[in-house]
């Protein structure tokens, strides 16, 4: 299909304006707000001040940051541990089976993730399905406390973010040339050696991409922490939400948002640097692989 130049220009301008109105402007508003002074009745007022940023250094918030990094990291790790074998096995199926499996994995995503988090909350309750099942099977004598624990938050984050791990990994496994594994075998590498010396290095871009795509949003998923972790400021996302909706300190909430965005930007930048080095080192972008 061929697009006329005017159509193409229109399309470009439309998407640019969309981005400007719904991404750029809100971010700029947040940025400006973060430099204003907090005021309980008017949310944010002049004059400009660095107050909000100064308060970010309060050890209380460092604690939130560390908690937040820890939970996100654990969720990322769980996603990787589950997603990697899953993607590996899936990549070995025929395209038909693979499409069905991916489809099944994606179906739940047609339901709002907030609703799915509520569902998890029910399942993990003291009288929830998980405990009932364990009790019925005789594995435990009394209900174990699942809901409102760190475990619950990590579980919820893992559950919601898993597909974001699997998809880039699948792409990596797709590009992995099976004949390389045969070559390694031919040269005497056993399954373990093939895994660590060939499969892992060659799927590294997928691993890094998957981890970032899971890790970055995990820090902001306040509703998961709210619903499954109880009323504590577990994630940076909770902290920000509370500043806006509960404490009504908009400059501070904005400053925390800006800090989170900067943190993500740094991670993304590191990712692109690493990626460039990997592809220079001998290429996943190499056409000869496929």
């Amino acid at each position: 299909m061929k697009f006329t130049p005017t159509f193409r220009q229109l399309a470009i301008w439309l998407s640019l304006s969309w981005l400007a109105v719904f991404v750029l402007v809100p971010h700029l508003l947040v940025l400006v707000t973060s430099f204003l002074t907090a005021d309980p009745s008017n949310l944010a007022v002049w004059p400009l001040s660095l107050d909000a940023y100064a308060r970010l250094w309060d050890p209380v918030y460092a604690g939130v940051l560390i908690d937040s990094l820890y939970l996100s990291l654990m969720a990322t790790l769980c996603c990787l541990l589950v997603g990697y074998p899953f993607a590996f096995v899936l990549s070995r199926f025929s395209p038909g089976v693979r499409a069905v499996c991916l489809f099944l994995m994606i179906i739940p995503f047609w339901t709002n993730s907030l609703i799915r988090t509520y569902a998890l909350k029910m399942l993990m309750g003291n009288k929830g399905l998980f405990n009932d099942t364990l009790l019925a099977l005789g594995i435990i004598d009394a209900p174990i406390r699942m809901i409102y624990t760190e475990f619950a938050v990590i579980f919820g984050l893992t559950y919601i973010l898993l597909p974001f791990m699997v998809l880039p990994l699948m792409a990596s496994f797709d590009r992995l040339d099976r004949s390389l594994l045969e070559a390694a075998r031919d040269l005497g590498a056993n399954a373990w050696q093939r895994f660590w010396r060939i499969i892992v290095p060659l799927t590294m871009p997928g691993i890094i991409a998957g981890c970032l795509i899971v890790f970055l949003p995990a820090m902001g998923m306040f509703y998961v922490a709210d619903l499954l972790g109880g009323a504590r400021n577990l994630l940076l996302g909770n902290l920000i939400k509370n500043q806006f909706l509960v404490v009504r300190d908009w400059p501070f909430g904005s400053a925390a948002s800006v800090a989170l965005i900067v943190l993500m930007a740094v991670l993304l930048w590191a990712y692109f640097q690493a990626n460039r080095r990997v592809s220079r080192r001998g290429g996943l972008e190499d056409e000869n692989l496929t």
């Binding site: 040339d177 004949s179 390389l180 045969e182 070559a183 390694a184 075998r185 031919d186 040269l187 005497g188 590498a189 056993n190 050696q193 010396r197 060939i198 290095p201 060659l202 990997v278 080192r281 001998g282 290429g283 996943l284 190499d286 000869n288 692989l289």
Partner: protein, 370 residues
């Protein structure tokens, strides 16, 4: 040669993929130190044989014996053979040096020895200066040499090569053919080479196995295969051949017979086995076995008379198609000689044509429409 000198032996191997039987009761014996080529059209099972020897596939029945040991149940990582893959399958994340060192590292060879052996083999394939390059930074021919180096550095009993040259352009392929042959002599390793290119097979091999639809057709030296093909498939797959149908009329002595060719020409033919009067045979004539002369020069010599239908100058040879009165077409190929006026036949000119007697090859008749 005796079975004792066989370094690779397949005995009664049957291999099925789903319902399709690719090899059936297939046996093969490859001698130590030879350049053995498996030749056949696409899909005839060449790669399957190689993968059975390498250990990537396992036979449904029958045995694979390497160097006197039954390895039928061993995986590829435990066999003392190495493969040069058609796509080279170089590890893209490793340097040339690390690619070549891979097998030695897996075998836990000492670091200093790895260093010296890899260097030595890279020198041998003339890639000494490329050790720190990545595969993507090499040309096709260089990658090919890395693939060979990566395999031979392990000093395998047998080197398996699957259409290793087919991805290269014509010039490079010729060069690599002679390099491969040279390397094989130098190393004394048994090479099992798979190709569907008959010229390549003829020029490189000590012995050739011709395959067709999973069935071995003939095993022999290039010369045997070319000059004494055992059946029509081998004859027509290796080079061009004129096939004449004939019936034996009577025996003159053990190997000379009077025969009727194409139901109308009575000629004397030489066979390498006995036939009875009444037997149907094929007389195979290579294009270069044919001689063409002007009618006026030929006089009454026995031979065929036909019309020149096509003349094609290929550089070294002049190829003609001669049509006999009954419609049968003969292909001839004569070495081009600028001083020889005989090369000036024109299209549709009637000429005399015959073969050099004794150069024909006679095989029992087969159903041509198989």
């Amino acid at each position: 040669m005796s079975e004792a000198s066989a370094v690779v032996q397949l005995s009664s191997v049957t291999k099925r993929f789903e319902q399709q039987e690719v090899l059936r009761e297939f046996s093969l014996s490859i001698h130590d130190g030879e350049f053995f080529t498996i030749l056949g059209p696409s899909g005839c099972g060449k790669t399957t044989i190689l993968r059975l020897i390498a250990g990537f596939e396992h036979a449904d029945s029958g045995q694979v014996i390497i160097d006197g040991t039954d390895v039928s149940t061993l995986g590829a990582e435990k066999r003392s053979v190495n493969t040069v893959f058609q796509s080279y399958a170089l590890f893209p994340h490793l340097t040339v040096f690390e690619n070549v060192a891979f097998g030695l590292r897996m075998a836990r060879v000492a670091r200093t020895e790895i260093e010296s052996r890899v260097k030595e083999v890279l020198e041998m394939v003339q890639l000494g200066d490329f050790a720190q390059r990545r595969p993507e930074q090499l040309s096709g021919g260089q990658r090919q040499r890395v693939a060979i180096a990566r395999a031979v550095v392990n000093r395998p009993k047998v080197l398996l090569l699957d259409e290793s040259l087919s991805a290269l352009d014509y010039q490079l392929r010729l060069k690599m053919q002679s390099e491969l042959k040279h390397l094989q002599r130098q190393l004394g390793i048994t090479f099992v080479y798979v190709t569907h290119d008959q010229e390549e097979a003829l020029s490189m091999s000590d012995r050739i196995l011709v395959m067709h639809q999973g069935q071995p057709q003939q095993v022999g030296t290039p010369r045997q295969i070319y000059e004494s093909p055992r059946n029509l498939f081998v004859a027509s797959f290796i080079g061009e051949t004129n096939v004449l149908n004939a019936k034996i009329l009577r025996a003159l002595d053990d190997y000379r017979y009077e025969a009727e060719l194409e139901g109308r020409y009575q000629r004397i033919i030489h066979a390498d086995r006995r036939y009875q009067p009444g037997d149907d045979v094929h007389v195979l004539l290579r294009p270069e076995d044919l001689r063409i002369e002007y009618l006026r020069d030929a006089g009454d010599k026995p031979g065929f008379v036909g019309e020149v239908k096509d003349r094609n100058y290929t550089g070294r040879t002049l190829d003609s198609i001669i049509e006999l009165p009954d419609g049968l077409q003969l292909r001839s190929s004569e070495f081009f000689d600028e001083d020889d006026p005989d090369f000036d036949y024109s299209i549709n000119e009637r000429v005399w044509v015959d073969w050099v007697h004794g150069w024909e090859h006679v095989i029992p008749a087969e159903n041509l429409n198989r």
